[in-house]
Amino acid sequence: MSTATLATPVATAAEEPAATSPPVPENCKTVGRVTADGALLIARGVNVFYGEKQAITEVSIDIARNQVLAMIGPSGCGKSTFLRCLNRMNDTIEGARVTGSIVLEGQDIYDKHQDVVQLRARVGMVFQKPNPFPKSIYENVAYGPRIHGLAADRVELDEIVHTSLQRAGLWDEVKDRLTSPGTSLSGGQQQRLCIARTIAVNPEVILMDEPCSALDPIATARIEDLIDELRESYAIAIVTHSMQQAARVSQRTAYFHLGDLIEVGETDRIFTNPRHKLTEDYITGRFG
C-alpha cells in the first residue's frame, strides 16, 4: 500500500483552464486548502437541510482525479450526508434540500437540466452494507452496463463483466460460479462484487460510504488494497469511521464536525500536524 505517497497532479489537469474552478466563497471557514489539482467534482457553499434541520453548512471542497479523499468525523457530523449529495442520492429522501453548487466538469449537477441517471453513471457509489441484487453474480455486474446500453452484444458484455470482476479482485474466486446468486458470497466478496458492479459502468468518481464497516479485518484489508489500485483510474471519496483506514488509503483528508467542514489537508499533514483544535482533539482521541 502506498499510503505515504502524495497525489501527483495529473497531466490531464493541465488541459483544463484553472479558471473553470469556481472561487471558494468568502464565508468559508475551513482550515487548510480545499482546492485540489486535477479537481473533477467541485463543491462550493453546499448546505443540506432535512426539513427544518440543517445537516450541512457551507461546505466547499474539491474531489480530484487519481486520489482518495477520506472524510472523517464523529457520528452525525454530516460526512455521509455530504457524500450522498455528490451523486444526488439525497433526492430519494423526502424533505431533503440542497443549496450551493456542486460542479462535475463544468456542469452543475443540481441544475434542472441535469439528468440524474447520467450523473449516477458518472458518479458511482458503494454502500456501507454490501447490497448485491437478488440476481446472479454475472447479472449483478452486468446490470449497470445493461441499463446504460454500454455493451453492443453478449461478447462485449462478457468482457465488461470479466474486467470489472478482475479489477475488483473477485474474478478468480467466482469465475466458476458466475450464475450462482450474488447473495451466496461472503460479506467481503459481496462488497467487492458491489465495487465490480460500480466500476462496470465506468464512472469517473466513486463514492464509498464506510465500505468496510460490516467486514472483518481480512476482508477490510483486501478492500483497502483495491481502493488503492482503483485510485489509478478514478477520483475516490470515502467516508470512514476508522482513522487508521483514512491514514492507510487516502491522500487527502477532510474533517467534519456538526455539519461544518473544519479542516482539509494532505492526509500525512492532518494526522501529524492538525491545525484546528477540533481536528486535533478528534485525531488524538479526545472525543468521537
Binding site: 430519494t92 441517471v117 447490497n131
Partner: protein
C-alpha cells in the same frame, strides 16, 4: 347454578392458595430481606400453590360432568319395571329423553305416565347427590393440592421453573385443540367421502362429465338416477377463479406498487384504509352486488353488442370475486415490496437506474417469491369462496368454456346438496363430503406451497 357457584368457590380457594404459598415462602426466610435466599420470587410460590389448587380440581370436575348424565341415566333405567326396560334401543332412548325432559321442566309432569314420574324423581334425587359429591370432591381436591404444595415449599424449591413449565403445558394444550379439531374435521370428511365412494366409483366422480345429483328417494320415482361426474364443477371453479385472478392480480399488484413506491405519504395514508375496508365487506354483500348489479349490467351490455349473456354468468361472479380479492393481494404485495431493503433500491439508483427500472428489475425481483406466495393464497381463497358464486354463478352444471354462460362451482354444489331436508345416507348428500374433500386437498396443497414460498423469502432478508 351450583356448578357456577362451585367454580367461584374454587377460584376463591385458588386466590387463598396464592396468598398461603406466598406467605409461607416469606415466612420460611424471615420476610423482607430474606427473599434473596429463595430460589424464586415469593409470587411464584403463590402461583404454584394456586395452580396446584385449581388445576387438578378443575380436571376432576370436567371428567365428572362429562360422565354424570350417562351414569345417572343408566342407574335410573336399571330401576325401571322390566316391562319398560325390555324395549329396543330406540324406544329406550326416547324414554330416557322423557325422563330428562321432566327433570328439566320441559314437559309438564301431569302429562307423564306414573312410572316415568317416579323415574324422574329418582333422577332428581341422584342428581342432587351427585352435585353434593362433586362439590365435596372438588373442594377437597383443591384443599389437598393447596396443603401438599404448602408442605413442599422450602427456599430450594424451584417454583419459577415449575410455574413456567405448567404454563407452557397449558399453552401447548390450547394449540393442541386447534390441531385435534382440524384432525377431527378431516377424518369425518374422509369417512363420509369413503362412504360416498362405495356408491360411486372414484374415477366416475373425478372424470365423469355429467353432474346431476338428484337421486331417487323412493323406488317408484322416475328420472332421478343421479350422475356424479364432477368435472363440470371443477371446470366452473377453475374458470371463475381464473377470471377473478385476472382481475385481482394486476389491479392488486399495480396498486401495491403504486402505494409502496410512488405514492406520497398523504395519499398512502388515505388509500390504504379504503382498500382495507374493501377487505372487510362481507362476501354476501359482494354476492348480491354481483347478482343484482353486475349480472344484469353484463347482460344489457351483451345485448347491445349482440352477445347472449346469461343473467347468471361466470363472468359476473368472477369479476366481483376478483374485486373482493384485490385488497388481499394488494396488502400482501405491499408488505413484500416494503420489506425489500432500502439498500437494494439505493444500489440500483447509484448505478443510474431510473425509478421504474429499479422497481421492475430489482424491487419486484426481490419481492417476487413473496408475491407469488400471496397469489397462491389468493387462489385458494377464490376456490373456496362460496357466497358470491351461489348468488351470481348459477346452479346449472354446464360443461362450457364460455364465461358468458351460467356455470356452477364445487362450493355452490356443496351448499345446494346440504340445504333443506336431507337423507344422510344417500349418495346425493354424501357427494357433498367428497366435494369438500377435493376442495380441502386442493386448497391445502396451495397453502402449503404458498407458505413455503413466503417463508423462504422471509428468511432471505431477516
Amino acid at each position: 347454578m351450583p356448578h357456577f357457584a362451585l367454580l367461584v368457590a374454587l377460584a376463591a380457594l385458588a386466590v387463598l392458595g396464592y396468598w398461603v404459598g406466598k406467605q409461607r415462602s416469606l415466612q420460611l426466610v424471615g420476610g423482607g430481606r430474606g427473599i434473596r435466599k429463595l430460589h424464586s420470587l415469593p409470587a411464584y410460590y403463590g402461583f404454584l400453590t394456586a395452580l396446584w389448587c385449581a388445576l387438578p380440581a378443575l380436571l376432576i370436575m370436567a371428567v365428572w360432568l362429562l360422565l354424570q348424565d350417562t351414569i345417572i341415566s343408566s342407574l335410573v333405567l336399571s330401576k325401571l319395571p322390566v316391562a319398560l326396560r325390555g324395549q329396543n334401543a330406540g324406544e329406550l332412548g326416547l324414554l330416557t329423553n322423557d325422563i330428562r325432559n321432566i327433570v328439566l321442566g320441559n314437559i309438564p309432569a301431569a302429562a307423564a305416565r306414573p312410572e316415568v314420574l317416579v323415574a324422574a324423581q329418582d333422577y332428581r334425587r341422584l342428581q342432587g347427590i351427585a352435585d353434593l359429591a362433586l362439590s365435596g370432591l372438588v373442594l377437597a381436591a383443591g384443599l389437598a393440592g393447596l396443603a401438599w404444595v404448602r408442605s413442599r415449599i422450602n427456599p430450594a424449591l424451584r417454583a419459577r421453573n415449575s410455574v413456567e413449565r405448567i404454563i407452557e403445558l397449558l399453552l401447548l394444550g390450547c394449540s393442541m385443540i386447534a390441531v385435534f379439531v382440524t384432525l377431527g374435521i378431516v377424518l369425518s370428511v374422509l369417512y363420509e367421502s369413503l362412504r360416498f365412494f362405495h356408491a360411486v366409483s372414484l374415477d366416475q366422480f373425478l372424470l365423469g362429465l355429467q353432474w346431476s345429483p338428484q337421486t331417487a328417494l323412493r323406488a317408484d320415482q322416475v328420472g332421478s338416477s343421479g350422475a356424479f361426474g364432477a368435472v363440470p364443477l371443477f371446470l366452473g371453479t377453475v374458470m371463475i377463479s381464473g377470471i377473478a385472478m385476472l382481475v385481482a392480480v394486476p389491479v392488486g399488484l399495480f396498486s401495491a406498487i403504486y402505494l409502496a413506491e410512488y405514492a406520497n405519504r398523504k395519499f398512502r395514508a388515505s388509500v390504504k384504509p379504503v382498500l382495507e375496508i374493501l377487505a372487510g365487506i362481507p362476501t354476501v354483500v359482494y354476492g348480491f352486488f354481483a347478482a343484482l348489479t353486475v349480472g344484469p349490467f353484463l347482460r344489457h351490455t351483451g345485448e347491445l353488442v349482440g352477445l347472449k349473456v346469461a343473467s347468471e354468468s361466470a363472468l359476473a361472479a368472477g369479476l366481483v370475486m376478483g374485486i373482493m380479492i384485490i385488497p388481499f393481494i394488494s396488502s400482501l404485495a405491499d408488505d413484500m415490496i416494503t420489506a425489500v431493503p432500502q439498500s437494494l433500491r439505493d444500489g440500483a439508483y447509484a448505478l443510474g437506474a431510473t425509478r421504474s427500472e429499479t422497481i421492475r428489475q430489482v424491487v419486484l425481483r426481490a419481492a417476487l417469491p413473496g408475491i407469488v406466495g400471496g397469489v397462491l393464497l389468493a387462489i385458494s381463497r377464490a376456490i373456496g369462496e362460496t357466497m358470491i358464486v351461489v348468488m351470481a354463478a348459477g346452479l346449472a352444471a354446464n360443461m362450457t368454456a364460455n364465461p358468458l354462460e351460467a356455470v356452477t362451482t364445487v362450493t355452490v354444489q356443496i351448499v345446494t346438496l346440504l340445504t333443506g331436508d336431507q337423507e344422510f345416507d344417500s349418495p346425493k348428500t354424501l357427494a357433498a363430503f367428497a366435494l369438500g374433500l377435493v376442495l380441502f386437498v386442493v386448497t391445502l396443497i396451495l397453502n402449503v406451497v404458498a407458505l413455503k414460498v413466503v417463508r423462504k423469502y422471509r428468511e432471505q432478508y431477516e
